[in-house]
Amino acid sequence: MTTNGTASAASAPEDAGNDYLEMDLLRFTTAGSVDDGKSTLIGRLLYDTKSIFQDQMEAVEEASRTRGMTDDDDVPNLALLTDGLRAEREQGITIDVAYRYFATPKRKFIIADTPGHVQYTRNMVTGASTADLAVILIDASRGVQTQSKRHGFIAALLGIPHLVICVNKMDLVDYSEEVFEDIMDEYTDFAAKLDAKDLTFIPVSALRGDNVVDRSPNMTWYEGSTLLHHLETVNVAADKNLRDFRFPVQTVIRPNQQFRGFAGTVASGVVRPGDEVMALPAGTKSTVKEVTTFQGDLNEARAGEAVVVTLADEIDVSRGDMLVRTGNTPTVGTSIEAMMCWMSEEPLAKDRHYLLRHTTREVKAFVDDIRYRVDVDTLHREQVENLELNDIGRVLVSTASPLFFDRYSLNKETGAFVLIDPYSNTTVAAGMIRGEGQDADKVAAEAQRLSMGERPQSENVVWEGLNIPREEREAKQTHKAAAVWFTGLSGSGKTTVAREVERQLFERGIKTMLLDGDQVRHGLCGDLGFSQSDRSENIRRVGEVARLFFESGAVTFCTFVSPYRDNRDWVRHLFPEDRFFEVFVDVDLETARERDPKGLYAKVDAGEIDNFTGVDAPYEAPENPEITLQTAGLSVEESAAEVIRQLEEAGIVPAA
């Protein structure tokens, strides 16, 4: 200790029994009512992990006695531990989100404890917004209730990746395995509609302590984890988006003329010195000079880290702007489709403006249209004029200046927003972006397009975190990676030309791969037919496979009829702008029919095949293909030469 009344750490933290340095953090939410035994469950977790201090326990015992709320066999009422404000104590219910803390040697836990009734939907949404995991309670004696479904819906809406269904009060059903399994089956069916990724079911009795912290001797048939063990071991690190670098600037730090740093927390992705970045909205490009902190410069910063970034060039960047990678940008726009939860007593008004806060940016906004409201209990969509307190609906929002956003399902940080009433200053709504604003017809058509899956609509995604990044592979080869997508009618010559191109490049030592429609139909896509949705899924899978070959450094050829423009554009979005080549193999139907290399047109004419592209199913020709081949007037060699010439010109392969 020093003489001025201060003392610093007497010894280095290494000596401090430093297990805690290896602990990570899990934030989870609980939803449920007093009836489900939610407060008892949390009380049990705190009690059995010895997270309750003696004075708190004494206070609860005292309160249990004076209010006569003790359980039958004199267990103190654990629910009282988590019961906060006076109004709630008087009514005996939880009415706001309350945060609780406990830790084990493995993890620190933050519980966002929320009430479960429909009139507290906004509280559940709030609690769910920061959670990695949701604990949903089902009372075993009452089975799956509307409320348990609502909780699942909200958890899925808020993009919580892990759901744990605690089937509670097992003591009331004689610890019956059958009851547990029936509930599990029913809820699994329901959850299939929700796009819930990771479902875990645990039979517990919070009151008796079965399977909460300690394994239950009453349910030997159950072989899974206890609740606590599951919470301690569930992998949440993988949930972070480390692909798409997004850095919303919070404030500019400028202590002197020499230093100009942009302070913020990396919303997603990774940033390293030397990365080429772009500042939005200006679109100005520069290079990251340093990623710095109080402790010194970092060689990289990942999602969730608070840092200061400096750039090599003096470009104009201020609060509310966003730094992104040049090859991987969010959508920039003033019109968004979103799911929104209304949180104010005063209903949504379409004729007045709100302030929309998104990342570190705040803009004026109007809600132009309410597409529908979701009944949170039946999941039915209803046409409504208005959103009121606790309503959840799909809306179209326009903003006065552009937002830089991603879909919430891909990136919570850049997909979430709140609305603020500029008169009362309160937060009135929470929104989750679904995509760019669309006209009403498109929204109706969306259901169909969903057959493509809720996959990246973000442009030109750069994959990060690969063991060997593509750039490194490319540096060791003589050529770059690319995807060359041949589209055209059956019999147009796609495969013939692509095979020739591949052969010639292969002879030159270029790493290549060719994916052909017939091949994948036998294996990868053997389960698919030829309906529009199956065709879409076929193309989606091929796109993803092509992407893998691309990342391995190959020039990848794909030959697919791929009649729908939307599908092809979707594949295009998987690749950097200058690495995707759409080759339109243009031939008229008559020529193709004449060639008929596989005898397919003959079968169509014989009525053996329906839905044949060009005959009784549409072909949407590319609008701006990189390469067009009029194969009616060209030989195979000439066509191949044209494709190779274009690849050389684009710098993908060296000139022969």
């Binding site: 001025n4 009344g5 201060t6 003392a7 610093s8 750490a9 007497a10 010894s11 280095a12 933290p13 000596d15 401090a16 029994g17 805690y20 340095l21 602990m23 953090l25 201090f53 003696q54 988590t82 019961d83 906060g84 404000l85 006076r86 945060y99 803390y101 830790a103 620190k108 509280n123 709030t126 917004s129 920061t130 690190a237 404030t251 730090i253 202590p255 302070a263 913020g264 927390t265 710095t292 109080f294 010194g296 410069d297 970092l298 060689n299 990289e300 990942r302 969730g304 880290e305 608070a306 200061v308 806060r357 940080e413 979430a416 709140v418 603020i420 200053n425 309160t426 937060t427 929470a430």
Partner: protein
Amino acid sequence: MATVETTYRDSHLRALEAEAIYVMREVAAQFERPVLLFSGGKDSIVMTHLARKAFHPGKIPFPLLHVDTGHNFEETITFRDWLVEELGVRLEVASVQDAIDKGRVVEETGPEASRNGLQIVPLLDAIQEHQFDAAFGGGRRDEEKARAKERFFSHRDRFGQWDPKNQRPELWSLYNGHKNVGEHFRVFPLSNWTEMDVWQYIALEDIAIPSLYFAHEREVFTRRGTILAKTDFITLLPGEELRTQTVRFRTIGDATCTGAVDSQASTLPEIIQEVAAARETERGGRHDDKRSEAAMEDRKKQGYF
């Protein structure tokens, strides 16, 4: 500059640190005249450390405000002045003694008189006088039931009051600092920290703290189960006897009501072990919380920290 090791980057302490820094930067960006309420206790010391990190290599862009009850441990003031010098920040002092002298508040009388409740008026006066629009507090949600529902950005009306029934929803990391003229915010960057987290972080970051936190010999007596230090500001009741004991403080506040604990923990690792084994909450040592079950909620409504 050296490239730092990134060993502990995924730990809970780094996550809490990043969250607090984010909150501090939001305040600096959203408000015109923020201030950091500095009590001299470990939580406010940790806040100054986080503020230093948040704005590095710039200086901390707001002053500290100490609400001085006049009933301080000497070590607290020595430490405060040293830290202010070290950080190069401005210090404002709101004095309870001044408020008493001006007749703004009336001092409690009797042997159990405490100035803790009297801090509210000088605090609100200082906020008004300096037109502070956001005041950082070291409050943590784990400290007390009423705090479990507190927001990071906690709105206070023109009378400095908190309305627990009318709090703004707070989602993701989107903090709403909009307010009318004359209103202000209390902001709690350490909301999600526990006492253990604070101690672990102090050890991890090697943060200097006042010697009161480490076990030392002191003249003390026991009042209603709380070990209080002998000071010039406290009168013994009949039956209370002074003794010399090795104690340390788990919180540092007004010397008349901050309880000590019997402890031999004289290093941070020992303190961490002691906290891990503790059977009483930190505030359990605060004499003033025992007055009623809803004591904290009442004081918060009035504008307490």
